[in-house]
Point group: C2
Chain length 334, copies 2
């Protein structure tokens, strides 16, 4: 059942059917009704490929993230999908992992699908301090379709970003711990992504501003896997700290598990702060104080902006910084 069939049955031309389908004003009410009835009766749906061929668009957004099994990414994609759906866009998904090559291939693939725009979720896609050539493929992609980065940051004509203010959040958390008399704040991290770096800088700045030294042995890097991280911490005999600031909730929970093994009481002897306000933070015991990076709001901004750009609006801000919120629970005494 195609447009020709509908035209034949309703006794009009395919041009008219096309106009009816696309809600053109230049059709008499009578004709419209007649055609509509036939369309309903026959259950006709326009062929999306043919339409795509003509319009060079299928109203589809490409979404990339390193790993959708991660709660943070999953929440982001959930919001993106929902918001785009309301604007009539569909989402095609790509989980790229963290290697440059895979990321590059995925971008190429999505682009070859003639997506209307590309959204990349996660701080693995670039930011301050990342080498130019590492992100060249993204700049390249932006020549073919607008690119929106969530929690990454690259400057470019057709590139838009929304970033959590991780620096400030880390600064605040660290300062709060200092105000509570903490002397040795362990910085737990699992990668050197843009956002991890921002957090580390906030942490360092807060220490400096308080006149504290930035100690290398207080920066602890490990995989974001609870048992693995806990065991690695336990293996380091000389690890001494009175508080923990982790760049991921999973790492913070690992610190909690570490405390449990060591018989250290939280928050009395040890304060712990996590990041992302994930379900983990209310599952653990005691429940975790965690920074919420407002992923929902970031996704909202992303969709609004992308849609504006696709509508030809040129007054879209290339970077939006969203403040974080510190959700206080039981692992801190502030």
């Amino acid at each position: 059942m195609n447009i020709y069939d509908i035209a034949r049955i309703s006794g009009v031309s395919i041009a008219t059917v096309s106009r009816v389908v696309n809600g053109s004003q230049k059709v008499s009410e009578k004709t419209r009704q007649k055609v509509m009835d036939v369309i309903k009766a026959e259950g006709y749906t326009p062929n999306i490929f043919a339409r795509g061929l003509g319009l060079d668009s299928m109203k589809t957004i490409g979404i990339m993230c390193p790993n959708i099994a991660d709660n943070y990414m999953a929440r982001a994609i959930s919001h993106l999908e929902q918001n785009f759906h309301e604007y009539g866009y569909d989402c095609i998904l790509g989980c790229s992992g963290h290697t440059r090559e895979a990321k590059e291939n995925y971008v190429k693939l999505l682009l070859s699908k003639r997506i209307d725009a590309l959204v990349m979720v996660g701080s693995t896609y670039g930011g301050n301090g990342v080498e130019e050539k590492e992100t060249a493929y993204i700049k390249n992609a932006s020549k073919q379709a607008p690119v929106f980065l969530i929690n990454s940051w690259i400057e470019g004509e057709n590139i838009y970003c929304s970033n959590a203010d991780d620096f400030s959040a880390a600064y605040e958390v660290t300062s709060a711990l200092i105000r509570r008399g903490k002397k040795r704040i362990l910085f737990l991290y699992d990668s050197e992504t843009f956002s991890a770096k921002q957090k580390m800088e906030g942490y360092e700045r807060a220490l400096s501003d308080a006149g504290y030294p930035v100690l290398g042995d207080l920066k602890f890097r490990t995989k974001n896997e609870i048992h693995h991280a806990r065991d690695l911490m336990l293996a380091y005999k000389n690890l001494e700290f009175d508080s923990v600031f982790a760049v991921e909730d999973g790492l913070a929970v690992a610190a909690l598990k570490y405390a449990k093994v060591k018989g250290i009481s939280v928050p009395e002897e040890l304060s712990v702060v996590g990041y992302n306000n994930s379900p983990l933070s209310v599952s653990c015991e005691p429940e975790l104080t965690s920074v919420d990076s407002r992923i929902e709001q970031q996704c909202y901004i992303a969709v609004e902006n992308i849609v504006k750009v696709l509508e030809g609006n040129t007054e879209v801000s290339h970077r939006t910084i969203v403040p974080c919120e510190i959700v206080k629970r039981c692992t801190t005494d502030f």
Copy 2:
């Protein structure tokens, strides 16, 4: 840059370019090389819409789930995407929620995108005991594209399913608790989906087989949200139980939180078993014994089977039942 340009530049016909692009054997090595060079030099990519128009396929799989922010779904989608990607298929995602209307609309939408197949993840899409008319839209969809249900079950010519053996898992867990002397096993659930029903039936059967009564006041339904569930349990003054079997890890964690408030020790006074083996189960304290429904394997089966069907293979099993695994941790003494 289209196929005509490439043909002109390489001095051949578009038919030959098409053959080269599609790896046809009937091209001389010399011609192939010549054309390939031009393609490389010009950075030509075939227009996917035009190709789709001709072949009526874009090698795209539609994936639906109620909510991708849920860890179980996210893991499923992650595996599906990865496996399909290896076969050269892309995934377009739809988060449908749980209402019939939304689910139906999403199916319609995905179908209108001419997806090659539809994969539906979750037990919300139908199974034993669900009314025919509730799943009619899925049977209908299967006329247009093969449908694969993960953890739902509907019989139909073009419908394929993989199901966790939730009944047996629930039976085993309940029996194990009984063997440990538990007399009042609380069944915590949050919905009446197919899988929840299977679990409940396994629970009931184990009780009956052990000569225990199936008590209505030992079935507790609440939203799958840790604090909400905990508070609801606390609000019921006469709730008495010595063990908990929850259909979701979140609910099991809620039970742990309940025990914490009540000062009940786990597992000494109370045994708790969750479901899905999610990150929650290792985040909580003590760590949760949980049923792993092998989502990874189910997704693997789904992809293998779908690909077979799409290749015209007709000997594909319409239903595969995957055994679960009980992952023993600290909230039980078995």
